[in-house]
Symmetry: C2
Subunit: 391 residues, 2 copies
C-alpha cells in the first residue's frame, strides 16, 4: 500500500513515508521536494488505480478514487490525460509532465520528399464538361491517350484496361488544372462555372484543389484515393500508368486534406488513417494555405507529456536517457483542428521531438500515431506523415 496525502485547499497530493517515497522515486513518479514526492493528478490517480495507493487528508479521512478525481474536475481533458498516461505506463514506459521539457532534444525528424517539376507540352484540345457528374470527357483519341500515357492525367479507355474504349475522362481536379495550366477548351462551361459547381458539391473544394495542384506542380501524379478512403493517392515523379510486363504500379502514399480552419472529430480523423493503414499506404495529412508564424508559449503547453521510449535492451529513463516524443492526449470524442494541430507540431519542433498522438477510445483502449513533418521542396503548405504505431 502506498499512502497519499491530499491537501484539499491546495489541490495537491503528496507521498511522505520513506518506503513509498523511495518506491515512487525509483519508478520516476512526481517531483521530489525535501524528501516529499508531489504527484500530478494523473500520477496520483495511477498510483491509486494500479499501485494500490490509498489517499487520506492530514487528519486521517480516507478519499476514494472519485473523491480525489473530483478535486480536479475543472482540469481540461483530465481523463484523456489520465487514460493515455495509464496506457503508456502500463506498457512499462516512463512519461513525465510537459513542464520538464527543456531545450532542444534534436530528435525531430522531417522526411524529405523528392522535388520535381511539371511541364505540359502545348497542345490544344476540346472537352465536354458534365456538371452533374463533375467530369470532363475528351473524345479526341490521340490527345486522351497522350494525356494519360505521358502525364497520367485522366483515365483513357477503361480503368486498368486503357486499350478498351477511346474516351478520356478527366476528373474535376484535372479539368481545372488543365484549364489553368494546359490548353483545354470546354465547349459548354467556363472555369468560373466549374469552380462554382465543384465548390457547391465538395466541401472545402478550394483547399482540395490547392493540394492537388501543389503536388502536381512538383511532378507527382495525383489520382483519387477513393479506394483507400482518402482524398488522393500519389505517385512519385516519373510514375507511369503504362504497365511494364503486365504489372500495375501501386501507389504507396495517400493524402487527406485537412483545412486549416476546419475541426474534425477524432473518430472521423482516425477512420481515414485506418483505411490507409489497412492497405499499407503511408498516410499524408495536408494542411493547405500559407503557414502562419506560431508562437509557442512554454507556460501554456498544448501537449501533454514528455515521453521516454525504448532503447536496446531496455527503456529510456529521465535518469540516463533523453525523451523521444511529446504526447498529445485525446479521446475519441474530442475535436482536432488543422490550426490546432499545426500549433501542437510547432511545439514539438521547438523541443526537437516527434509528436505521438494518443487517442483513448470510449473503452479506454489507446491508439498511437506518430506524426512527422514532410519536407516537400518548393511547397508552402504543411504536410505530415502519420503512422499508426504500437509503442
Amino acid at each position: 500500500m502506498i499512502k497519499l496525502e491530499l491537501d484539499r485547499k491546495k489541490h495537491s497530493l503528496c507521498v511522505k513515508e520513506a518506503p513509498d517515497v523511495s518506491s515512487l522515486a525509483n519508478g520516476f513518479y512526481g517531483q521530489m521536494v525535501r524528501g516529499v514526492i508531489y504527484l500530478s493528478p494523473e500520477e496520483a490517480l495511477y498510483v491509486m488505480d494500479i499501485r494500490n495507493g490509498r489517499c487520506y487528508d492530514s487528519v486521517g479521512n480516507e478519499f476514494s478514487f472519485n473523491e480525489v478525481a473530483s478535486q480536479f474536475l475543472r482540469n481540461k481533458k483530465l481523463l484523456a490525460r489520465y487514460l493515455t498516461y495509464k496506457d503508456y505506463r502500463d506498457k512499462g514506459l516512463i512519461l513525465r509532465g510537459m513542464n520538464e521539457a527543456d531545450g532542444n532534444y534534436g530528435r525531430s525528424l522531417s522526411v524529405k520528399y523528392a522535388g520535381g517539376d511539371f511541364t505540359l507540352a502545348s497542345f490544344s484540345f476540346q472537352g465536354l464538361f458534365f456538371p452533374n457528374d463533375l467530369i470532363t470527357l475528351v473524345d479526341d483519341e490521340r490527345v486522351g491517350k497522350e494525356l494519360y500515357e505521358r502525364y497520367w492525367i485522366g483515365q483513357f479507355g477503361t480503368y486498368k484496361a486503357a486499350h478498351r474504349g477511346r474516351i478520356s475522362k478527366l476528373d474535376i481536379y484535372e479539368t481545372i488544372f488543365l484549364l489553368k495550366h494546359g490548353d483545354l477548351h470546354l465547349k459548354n462551361a467556363r472555369l468560373a462555372d466549374i469552380e462554382k459547381a465543384a465548390s457547391k458539391r465538395i466541401k472545402f473544394f478550394s483547399d482540395m484543389y490547392l493540394v492537388y495542384e501543389d503536388w502536381r506542380k512538383r511532378g507527382y501524379v495525383v489520382k483519387t484515393g477513393f479506394k483507400f478512403g482518402t482524398h488522393f493517392r500519389i505517385y512519385f515523379p516519373g510514375a507511369s500508368p503504362v504497365r511494364s510486363e503486365d504489372e500495375w504500379m501501386h501507389s504507396k502514399h495517400v493524402i487527406h486534406v485537412f483545412p486549416r480552419k476546419h475541426k474534425l472529430i477524432i473518430s472521423e480523423w482516425a477512420r481515414a488513417i485506418r483505411v490507409a493503414h489497412s492497405v499499407k499506404k503511408t498516410f499524408i495529412l495536408a494542411i493547405p494555405g500559407k503557414k502562419t508564424p506560431i508562437e509557442v508559449n512554454p507556460k501554456k503547453p498544448r501537449l501533454d507529456f514528455l515521453l521516454y521510449h525504448r532503447k536496446k535492451g531496455g527503456i529510456e529513463t529521465p535518469k540516463d536517457g533523453t525523451p523521444r516524443y511529446l504526447m498529445y492526449s485525446l479521446t475519441e470524442d474530442e475535436y482536432i483542428g488543422g490550426e490546432g494541430l499545426a500549433e501542437a507540431l510547432a511545439e514539438c519542433n521547438k523541443f526537437g521531438l516527434e509528436m505521438m498522438m494518443a487517442i483513448s477510445d470510449r473503452e479506454s483502449s489507446v491508439t498511437y500515431y506518430v506524426i512527422k513533418t514532410i519536407d516537400l521542396p518548393g511547397s508552402e503548405y504543411e504536410y505530415y506523415e502519420i503512422e499508426w504505431i504500437q509503442p
Copy 2:
C-alpha cells in the same frame, strides 16, 4: 462498325441496318420496334465507345462521342449512369433500363437477426461524470466488475486486462442508458446536462443514442467501433467479455449511424464501409427514427438499371432468366441521404430485388455494394447489411 442514327429533334438514337440490328439484339441492347433498335443514351454511348459504333444523322453528318453525349447533358447523373452501365457490361453481364422492371421477382432477401431482451438487476450505485471527456467513472469495485462481467457495460480495470485496476469507465451511451434504465446516480450532473454536453460535442447524438439503446434493449452488447472506423460494434445476445481459455471474443458486426435527414458525400460513406471490410466485419447501416410510409412512383424510378447476374455455367439474360438486382448508379462526389436511401430500398422491395449500389470513382473505376434489409425483431428502425462485392 455499327451505324447509329441520331434524330436531333427527338433526341433519339437508333440502329437500322440488319447485321447491326441482329448483333445488338443478340447482345440485349435497346428496344426493338418494327425491325429498328432504339437505344438509350447509355447504350448508344457504350456502342460508340466500345463496340466501334459511329453515329450519323439522316443526311449523313457524323457526330462524335461528345456530340452525341451533349444531346443528353440535361439528364441527371448521365455519366454516373454511363460509367456504371459500362463497367457492368464490361464484366460480360447484362443490364436493362428500369422501365422493364415488372411485378415482384421474389428475390429480395432480408436477413433475420436474433431477438432478445435486457433486464438489469436493480442495484443502486454512484458515478462521477467528466463533462470534458464524456466519461463516467465508477469507483465501487464490486459494481464496476459486475456491470462489466455480467452485462459488458463499461470497461472495468484495463482494456483486455480487466484484472488490472479497479475503476470502471462508462462511455457516454452507457452513462445515459444506466441513468434511464438502471439505477446510476451521478454526484455532479443530471441527465439533462449530460445529454446537452453530448449533443454539443457529437453530431446527431440523439440519433446515435437511439441506435445504441435499440440494440441494447434487444440484448445485444454495443461498444465503440473506434478501432473499425465506425460508430459502434456489436456482439450478439449472450456475449461476454470474460475470456474463455484466454481467447478474446471478436465482434463480427459494426454499426454506422446514418440520420434520416442527413446527407453524406459518397466518398465518406464508402470510407466507413472500407474499414469494416478490411477487418472482415459485417457493416450495418442504421437509419434511426420511425419508418415513414414510402410511395413508390414507377414513372419516376430512383434506381437506374435492372441487373441480370450470373448463373451456374453462364449468365442470366432477359431471354431465359430473371433479374436479380436493381442498380443505384452514383459517383464518388455524389451525395446520398438516409431518406433517399430508404426510398430507393422501398423501390427494391416493391420489385422483390436486392439493391446493388455502383459507385464510379473519379477514375471511372466502379465499386459495388449489395444492400440487404435486416429484420431485427421488435425494432422500429431501419437497418441494412452492406457488403462490398465484385459482381
